[in-house]
């Protein structure tokens, strides 16, 4: 069997790309390991302080639950909508695509002012709690990421034939969506979910202006007062987001493989 060699130019590019991503992380790691008393390497004190701070665990839980809430609402809202538009109203696809771009055009600072004004008469459980208005705002922020992921997923399968085949065998719309369509767009739904998770875990502007304590606002507070802890926190948040993404991937792993292969036909 012929052995494959990696071209030298490819190696150079790999090294450059790895350096681009890894150098800031290494620098942050080195900085975070400095001793708070002596400013010299190496001490785990910054990490110890962070993990023993109850605000760290509280805010990370709030942000993580918010992420899951946003993902759940987005999927419930957008999967049937995009399915229906692809199946019955394909002329509305450009309209949806345009609407999905709005969160890119309207800055979060404007969005939050508008939303706070719009919902100022809303019940306290919605207006005063992060899982209410903040979750709602994050669904809007995640719209483009979720929509474009799902749109690509729906375009990759023969939606009409699969739907008709399912109905022909006696399945209702709900059964068709849950048992035939959803498993075949799982990869796209997971992709949208990853992006949503990353956005919510890092969203600062809306949470800060709406005066909620989330993980990014906690990082900001630490950053202003404790530089080594802030560096440690950045690295921890980076790892937590990656761990959450891996967990999501693990949940949907088995079916994704089969669906992906099948939809490439």
């Amino acid at each position: 069997m012929r052995r494959k060699w990696i071209a030298p130019s490819a190696v150079v590019w790999l090294v450059v790309a790895a350096a681009f991503f890894l150098l800031p992380l290494i620098a942050t790691l080195m900085f975070s390991l400095r001793s708070i008393q002596t400013n010299k390497c190496c001490s785990g004190a910054a990490y110890s302080l962070i993990v023993h701070d109850h605000q760290f665990w509280h805010t990370i839980r709030v942000s993580f639950v918010l992420s899951l809430e946003t993902i759940a609402i987005s999927l419930l809202l957008f999967v049937p909508t995009v399915y229906w538009v692809h199946l019955k109203l394909p002329r509305l696809r450009p309209v949806l695509g345009f609407m999905a771009l709005i969160p890119f055009v309207v800055p979060p600072i404007i969005l939050v002012v508008g939303l706070l004004d719009l919902y100022k008469g809303a019940p306290a459980w919605f207006y005063d709690k992060p899982y209410g208005i903040l979750g709602f705002a994050y669904v809007i922020l995640a719209f483009p990421y979720m929509y474009f992921s799902l749109d690509a997923g729906f375009r990759a399968i023969d939606l009409h034939t699969l739907t008709e085949a399912s109905q022909n065998l006696g399945a209702s719309w709900r059964t068709t969506l849950l048992r035939v369509i959803l498993p075949n767009i799982r990869a796209a739904a997971l992709g949208g979910s990853f992006l949503t998770l990353a956005i919510v875990m890092g969203e600062f502007t809306i949470a800060s202006l709406a005066a909620f304590k989330t993980f990014p606002t906690y990082i900001q507070i630490v950053n202003e007062t404790q530089p080594y802890e802030a560096a440690a926190l950045s690295l921890l948040s980076f790892m937590i987001v990656w761990a959450a993404m891996l967990a999501l991937l693990f949940v949907g792993r088995g079916r994704v493989r089969t669906a992906q292969v099948a939809t490439t036909r």
Binding site: L162, E164, N168, L169, G170, T175, P183, N184
Partner: protein, 368 residues
């Protein structure tokens, strides 16, 4: 009373009339092929029967019940689609089982039926394979098993073989017919391939421009086409335009030559007609002096097309291009450029009035 009835079924898409009042009556266990060129309305008809589309008017009756407004998931129709339609996330076994699960059949009975059907279509060994692990022909076999699993009232086949290669197509169509006969299931089959339709059907309905031009047994369709369109669409046909000159003796004048054909008897003198002759009935002989005798047309061989046991010869006559199928063993005596005479048989020739001719239909006589 027929088992499946389509009564005056009409469907328009904006200004385009896809179906213009078709009527079909099919007894239980019969196999009907809807045959026609692209855009003739055959798939629209099938989709109306399946319930994926609603007619503008008319009705669909199955076993005495009007199902025109019934939703597709309540019609009990098994359908095999033109595109590969297996659910990619399910194995062959799970695909076949899907309809039975929807019907909440018991697990044991389900498994038994799935195994039986996959064996019936020759895929007992591939139950655990996913669609992407199956060839096109295997996928369509699974789709057939899946459609049959629910014991449908009518089996609908929408050009299921069109994406397959020629050999698999022939093999699978014979299997479809075998299974259909074995199970005695009423079947509606859509195809644009006349050979496919003629070889497997009890009845063939040739469609054109949203209407059924003619419906009959395959042999009737071939030997007694009712319209010029059917004559040209089913098989290959020589078309000789002429005028009836003597209705009593059955004489038609075509390009200055008088042809006597039985079917012209009783026609009105001066009527414009089309004499239709199958290539296998048109006898060719080498001509030495280029002159034509009774019921013959003089011409010259212009091409040979080898078809196996016969060779198809194209002959340029004075007023028409003729096609004749000659036994390949005889073809050496009729080389390209050879002057020939073509004998038009008196019997076995069809005659149609030219007023039946559709204005815009054209087919390549070599590839109808």
């Amino acid at each position: 009373m027929a088992y499946l009835e389509l009564n005056e079924l009409r469907r328009s898409f904006g200004p385009v009339v896809a179906l213009n009042g078709i009527n079909v009556a099919l007894d239980q266990g019969e196999f009907l092929s809807l045959l026609g060129p692209s855009g003739c309305g055959k798939t629209t008809a099938l989709r109306l029967v399946a319930g994926f589309d609603r007619p503008n008017s008319g009705s669909i009756v199955v076993d005495g019940k009007d199902i025109t407004r019934v939703s597709p998931n309540r019609r009990d129709m098994g359908m095999v689609f033109q595109a590969y339609s297996l659910f990619p996330n399910m194995t062959a076994e799970q695909n076949v089982e899907f309809g039975l699960r929807i019907r909440k059949n018991k697990r044991g009975a389900r498994r038994k039926r799935v195994q039986e059907l996959l064996e019936l279509v020759g895929l007992g060994h591939a139950v655990k394979r996913y669609p992407h692990q199956l060839s096109g022909g295997m996928q369509q076999r699974v789709a057939l098993a899946r459609a049959l699993a629910i014991e449908p009232r009518v089996l609908l086949l929408d050009e299921p073989l069109s994406a397959l290669d020629a050999k698999v197509r022939v093999q699978l169509r014979e299997e479809i017919r075998r299974i259909q006969t074995q199970l005695g299931i009423t079947t509606l089959y859509v195809t644009h391939d006349q050979e496919e339709a003629l070889s497997v059907s009890d009845h063939v309905a040739v469609m054109w421009s949203g209407k059924i031009e003619q419906m009959g047994t395959p042999s009737e369709m071939y030997s007694a086409p009712a319209t010029p369109f059917v004559a040209e669409f089913i098989g290959t046909m020589n078309r000789l335009e002429g005028v009836v000159v003597d209705g009593e003796r059955g004489e038609v004048e075509h390009g200055g030559t008088r042809l006597t054909v039985d079917t012209a008897r009783g026609r009105t003198r001066g009527e414009k007609v089309l004499v239709l002759v199958r290539p296998e009935l048109l006898q060719l002989e080498p001509s030495t002096n280029g002159a034509a005798g009774d019921n013959t047309l003089a011409g010259e061989v212009v091409t040979h097309t080898f078809l196996g046991s016969v060779t198809r010869l194209k002959v340029q006559a004075r007023a028409a291009e003729l096609i004749s199928d000659v036994p390949t063993a005889r073809v050496d005596s009729l080389p390209v450029g050879q002057p020939v005479v073509a004998h038009v048989p008196t019997a076995g020739t069809r005659l149609l009035s030219l007023k039946d001719e559709p204005a815009s239909f054209e087919l390549d006589p070599d590839n109808p």
